[in-house]
Symmetry: C2
Subunit: 736 residues, 2 copies
């Protein structure tokens, strides 16, 4: 077949177009990076699979402008979780009910929607990264800022494409300009690429289940005589395997890339149905432990669907292998009827079904030479009931994407790439530990009383559920110290997890330091929270997150403190602005903004903007000041214009472009709005209104630096943090 081989180059090759691969592709599209994403399937997922979107995932998707679509179409699990347990006679009864979610944690809460819709939104967002479709842009007008990439280099999923070999030239691994990874891709015929499941309607629910066979095997059974089959050799700077639990990429990297963990004997079935039932909690998230027929979880879904996770106590696990032929929807609903008895449950419509064996495994390496990376199910698998899998997978590549992209663009130092494994392996281990505990509590038989030692205490189960919240929402996760996340000098250094991590942390220890006490709520290594502030120029309320889209830029959020037109504090804030715009930022790279990152949250058409004359700095400066109390003007409490004129702020905070005029979108004030309440931003960020603070935020929204506005103590930390991460501005850029 060598005669049909073609060769090409790409900066990043992504293998697998599930949620992890699509998240990575979206990041790279939004950065204007030359990348490709291939998948051996003919199409995306149309029903079933993952369905839970956790809080932090929604925040991340929102930073790309996708969350609101999911938010709208999904079912919101906003209220209570109901626990049904056997009473003394063995009949199930609701005996506990706890609030789902925690108020104030985020502006989002947990929602459920089938994975295929999210994949559709990812595909739309990747396409829109380069500007809006042409159908509605007037001929002759400026139809958007430059996308920087010709149409043929834009990222789009290439389906029916499967890798067959991967070789790393280790000699070249340290050369940032090299393409050391060579991958052979095979372009499949339609029949080869179509999984059995897709050939008919909901025939084999075990497809993609861990009870199914690795699908590569069946895939390669097909002949190779069809016309459209060909091979291609691609030279890559980086390759990322997002190819699932049976990851071809992981296996190809060799036997030292292994999954560590164990399987249990618990088998569960899953049904997505429109239920016909008299069970009163069918539209609430409900956990049922029956006396002796196993457990069941109700997840109310979109479009009148309900997902049932049903323990299959009658399926035998012999010698680690399950008899797959036993498992069919009829048998699964029969198990559900037993657990839910005396309530009735049946269905007319079934949308999807599957079954799986509970187990937890984590990969021992997430990267080879920082040239080939693994993400998602390729490095962690577990049971699906906590709705974590798709979330942790997307968050893996959300962590990796901007690092890879900015390194490819020559903006970020390549050493930063090693923070991917440092940060995400720790999370994967926490996930596995959580799932291990939770699965066993859920699959176990309920204890009859406190003397029943082999049974599971229902109080312990409910408590475990409640306590897991900061982790399962992913809002509480915390990345350890590295070049990206400075250490605080005002508190003792934190514990890091495991020896391996410690070594990384030492090597990467940044010379910049933080004064963490300056912001009680912006914790180093955690995500920067969002609160409402008003835009100075028009007093419109905004979530601060909405001014921090995933466009690849680092951000300095200057909490300027309480300001008035001619105060000393104003002078301090403006001196900082002068230093930033005249001294620091000119040393750092600039980067053109991709159209797809504009107007994501309103105030214009998403992806639509007018071309500026100059690309902006890679460091975005936002000023958030606190309004001085104005008792004489309470009726106009949302107003800012009377106290400070827009032109009182240093130009660092209102960048001027000769074509577009001043940018009115960088200065915000913490004060009550007219119609939308009070964000209490300073209070919520835990920042002193007199002293203020500077918070440095990574492109993925995590806090890397907290320091003061002072020239002596704060400015040098800002400079050290940024210069420790970024490449210097090139001569060509400086000449501009």
């Amino acid at each position: 077949m060598t005669d049909t081989k073609t060769t090409s180059k790409t900066d990043v090759l992504i293998i697998g177009a599930g949620p992890a691969g699509l998240m990575l592709a979206l990041w790279l599209a939004r950065l204007g990076v030359d990348a490709r994403i291939v998948d051996k399937r003919t199409g995306k997922v149309y029903s079933g699979q993952a369905d839970g979107f956790q809080v932090r995932s929604l925040e991340i998707l929102d930073s790309f402008g996708i969350a609101e679509k999911i938010w709208k179409e999904s079912n919101h699990m906003i209220a209570e979780v109901c626990f049904w347990n056997p009473d003394e006679t063995g009949r199930i009864r609701r005996n506990n009910r706890v609030v789902n979610g925690r108020a104030g944690l985020s502006r989002f809460h947990e929602v459920v929607l089938h994975q295929g819709r999210a994949e559709t939104f990812f595909l739309d967002a990747i396409r829109d990264s380069y500007g809006p479709a042409n159908d509605d842009v007037r001929v002759g007008s400026d139809s958007g800022v430059e996308s920087g990439l010709p149409r043929r280099r834009r990222i789009a999923v290439e389906r029916k494409v499967m890798p067959t070999s991967l070789v790393i030239d280790e000699q070249q691994a340290d050369d940032a300009e090299a393409y050391p990874v060579t991958v052979t891709l095979r372009h499949l015929s339609e029949s080869e690429a179509t999984p059995t499941q897709m050939l008919s309607n909901v025939q084999d629910g075990l497809f993609r289940s861990n009870l199914g066979l690795p699908d590569d095997d069946s895939l390669l059974k097909g002949g190779s005589t069809v016309d459209d089959e060909r091979e291609e050799v691609v030279a890559c700077k980086y390759v990322v395997g997002c190819d699932g639990a049976h990851s071809w990429t992981r296996k190809t990297l060799g036997p030292e890339f292994d999954m560590v963990g164990e399987m249990t004997d618990y088998i569960w079935g899953v049904l997505d149905i429109v239920p016909i039932t008299d069970f009163p909690d069918i539209r609430n998230r409900t956990m049922i432990h029956s006396a002796s027929n196993g457990s069941l979880m109700v997840i109310p879904r979109e479009n009148r669907l309900v997902r049932l996770y049903i323990q299959l106590t009658e399926v035998s696990v012999g010698g680690g292998r399950v008899d797959r032929s036993q498992i069919q929807p009829d048998m699964i609903i029969k198990a559900a009827k037993k657990i839910m008895s005396p309530y009735q449950i049946d269905y007319h419509y079934c949308d999807w079904w599957t079954a799986y064996q509970v187990g937890q495994r984590v990969g021992n390496h997430f990267s080879k030479l920082n040239r080939v990376f693994l993400a998602g199910d390729a490095v962690h698998t577990h049971s699906p009931k906590a709705g974590q899998g798709m979330n942790v997978s997307m968050q893996d590549t959300y962590n990796l994407g901007w690092k890879l992209g900015l390194v490819c663009k020559g903006i970020l130092q390549p050493a930063v790439l090693s923070t991917y494994e440092l940060e995400r392996k720790a999370i994967a281990k926490q996930l596995i530990a959580f799932d291990h505990r939770f699965s066993r509590l859920f699959s176990g038989r309920p204890a009859k009383d406190i003397l029943d030692e082999t049974g599971v205490s229902m109080d312990e189960f409910a408590a475990a559920f409640r306590q897991s919240h900061m982790f399962t929402t992913a809002v509480g996760i915390k990345y350890q110290s590295s070049v990206l996340v400075t250490t605080a000098t005002d508190i003792p250094p934190e514990d890091v997890t495991g020896d391996e991590s410690k070594i990384h942390a030492d090597v990467l220890q940044s010379t910049a330091h933080s004064t963490s006490a300056l912001s009680a709520a912006c914790t180093l290594g955690t995500r920067f929270p969002s609160h409402q502030v008003l835009r100075h120029a028009d007093a419109r309320p905004w979530q601060l997150h909405h001014k921090m889209p995933s466009d690849g830029r680092l951000r300095l959020v200057v909490f300027g403190g309480e300001l008035s037109a001619s105060s000393q504090q104003m002078e301090k804030v403006n001196k900082l602005g002068a230093w930033l715009s005249d001294t620091l930022l000119p040393q750092l790279p600039t980067m053109a903004i991709m159209p797809g990152t504009t107007n994501l949250h309103g105030g214009g058409r998403p992806g639509y903007g007018l071309a500026p004359e100059q690309p902006p700095s890679i460091v975005d400066v936002l000023l958030v000041y606190a309004a001085a109390p104005d008792p004489g003007n309470p009726g106009l409490s949302g107003s800012a214009g009377d106290a400070i004129d827009f032109f009182d702020f240093h130009k660092a905070y209102r960048p001027f472009d000769p074509k577009l005029g001043h940018d009115y979108d960088k200065v915000f004030v913490d004060r009550p709005s007219h119609h939308d309440g009070d964000g209490h931003a300073y209070e919520n960020y835990g920042i002193d209104r007199t002293r203020g603070a500077i918070v440095g935020v990574r492109p993925d929204g995590y806090v890397g630096l907290v320091t003061s506005l002072d020239a002596e103590s704060g400015w040098p930390e800002v400079a050290r943090w940024l210069l420790g991460i970024l490449q210097p501005r090139t001569g060509r850029e400086q000449a501009k």
Copy 2:
């Protein structure tokens, strides 16, 4: 050309695809009515034109699922309006600042976005009325409920089509089954249909301005020798002229269809630019009266655009005719610079410009024989600065659409059609009166002091602006009594406007009556307001409006009062349910729900649903009860399941379908939510928690009936109101 004529039939022919025509087309598409919409242009508006969306318009657009797109892309004029006036030296200064909008009026406030985007959203919504596009619906699954119309009968704008004759067969006007209106349509060639403006970029800003020529004249100058030109004769039940200020339809109806009103000598220019300026209020809605150079209004817009309305004091109006050649963007910005001096204003990007002469005119008839109707600019024109034109136009056809549609479907009695003119002409007259006053205050020279009698008092101007709010938002408008809006027996009959209206009101006087004191906030003839309630089945908070989409159904909102499982009040509510489902509703028609009206506000994919076995009643019953105080369980205040089991409610409130099970989306409770505050619905609707009330709501969301839950006093009014409007259920339906 007779040899190329084709003939066809349609229930409704809409002439003109601007906002009024598109609103009507959308209504008819959402009702599954056989209708056509034609427009002589090649395309929709791409920039400029109308841009203001008022509160009530957004509520209406939201009932079709469009508002959120406008809400997102638009600029929000949420904060203050700034008034700049000359000081004693003649220099302009900000001397007043008032809050724009009124908190609590609606969940929306005024926004601005150019008309073309709204037209795009209308076109998308018309297409989606028949179900989602096929690209993402799995083969073999139920891909949505039945649309009821084959693809060839679905409504889509037919462009390059112009009417050339219209004849009404008056003999047939009273026969509901007849097609008494015959219209000849001419299918134009591309060059004929392309207005001069579209041939190049922003060449003639006076296109579609009232300073321009009627565009039919220029349109018909073109030759008729091209290939694709042909004529078609269409027999119509109804025709609606939405064809603008120069309405061909109005002129064709004869000289008695006239516009009454007057023009002024005031000429204004309009610029849509990205401003480069040091004027500090450029992102606020700002009104500037200069000492002697005229007035200017700043409307901050989407995508960094700003619209400037600029009085052109140097353009002469000689003999009623303006010298059009004088008016160009350069000249308009020069006028703006003078008014805004000493501030600088300039631009690099100009998106659109125009100019117009201020005047106010209203049509003396809105309908001929209730077979041909006029709407929008065809019956009212005025100055654009208050942002009313597009809004009142859309609201005209929002009023007309469901009436026409349900009459065509044999559900509504044809006599209801006369309420269109009754209701909308009164609004047009109020609009003209408002604009007359406001325009003169704005165009007038500011008074130097209180002795300056020819000048305009700036205090009076600001006061007029503030007072206009209930009208300009359209939230305060009130339709008079008719068969649709019952009169109250507990308060004196209200005044009606004008003799003519009085006659209509007398003729149409419904025999049903209301007890208006039962709801302080649901005023007869005004729009039913929206407040947050929780869904009983899952405690998810919803705006009540989101459970009342524009799907053509009338609604009975049963405010059941404070309920517990076995209370007397519960018994009363369930008795009402039994009477509705067993006695009243079987007498009234059913109507299949179009896919486009499902999941508009979340909980599933818009336009996607599974087919039920039976079409529902044309009357939708919603139960909103008040939660009894539960001091023992404050932590779960959003919960409802403990107090009342879902199956305690009569089946009228949880319709059962053999394929889809129970409908969990009809019972709501007024109580605090866990994460989204407290809607205080009973308090806000002004309904007593013990007594409750039934509120009858028209398909367009206006209150038609307020009565009690009592069998003696309330039920007969419900029956009279509905039987007075609707046709009886047909034998065929009853047999089902």
